[in-house]
Symmetry: C2
Subunit: 122 residues, 2 copies
DNA sequence: AAGCATCTGCAGCCAATGGTTGCATGAGGG
DNA sequence: CCCTCATGCAACCATTGGCTGCAGATGCTT
């Protein structure tokens, strides 16, 4: 058997820019909080046109964050929960990494500061 | 006295797009991991020109993520650790929120599934 | 069956922006 | 005094996020 949970690969650029755009994040938020919906349905809850929504949905789909499914004459989009979960983990990982590096730099800075004080008082 | 740590305000669009762009994130990563540097210094470690780097630095500065400081004849940029820390918290918060909503949806889906099985077997 | 309503998809246009090159300027080091 | 080198500004191009408009498909109503 393979690993039970996908390895938290480093989030790639496509993913980042997918969730980096404010409008796209808004659309994604709607899908996450309100469940599956069509492009037109989403367009009604968002301050821009259906076509813009459709483009965003295409980007989100290419990034693997959502999937499309024909239903009646509509096309219903739905969040890929596994993929989004993977993204949230990756985001947390990036945040943690920045945190560690910042902490390391802060320690260095404080050490240098202390050293300067010692030298100037000698 | 006010709250000791800044309230983790929802991350605004300027911040998101600042860290959403791959090149900008790369520049920011360099500043975080290698410490303060000038535009030219950064340009040497990145696959695009100094002018592009300068534009990214301007965006990062407008977003409050870095600050500029003249040093010799260079201009040195440095990460604002407090601000970046704030961003990492906000990112974690967004991730957690998605997580919660996904969990809620998953529970609903499983409940519906169980309900269907019960109905079809009755 | 005819027609209407509505949802999708495609094409073309505009503005913002991430990238480039080129040039002018200013500050230190021979 | 000149040369180097880092900065900043401007012009230009490609991509992309927004729009409008139109054509095609499909379901509902008369």
């Amino acid at each position: 058997m393979t690993v039970p949970t996908e390895a938290p690969r480093p989030i790639d650029d496509e993913l980042w820019s997918a969730i980096g755009d404010p409008s796209r994040r808004r659309v994604l938020d709607l899908l996450v909080s309100q469940g599956p919906a069509s492009a037109s349905g989403l367009a009604g809850r968002v301050p821009f046109t259906r076509q813009a929504v459709a483009k965003h949905l295409a980007v989100l789909e290419r990034a693997g964050l959502i999937s499309r499914r024909p239903r009646d004459r509509e096309v219903v989009y739905e969040v890929d929960t596994g993929r989004l979960d993977q993204v949230t983990r990756a985001m947390a990982e990036v945040a943690a990494q920045w945190d560690r590096r910042l902490a390391a730099i802060k320690r260095l800075a404080e050490a240098a500061h202390a050293e300067n004080k010692k030298r100037s008082s000698s």
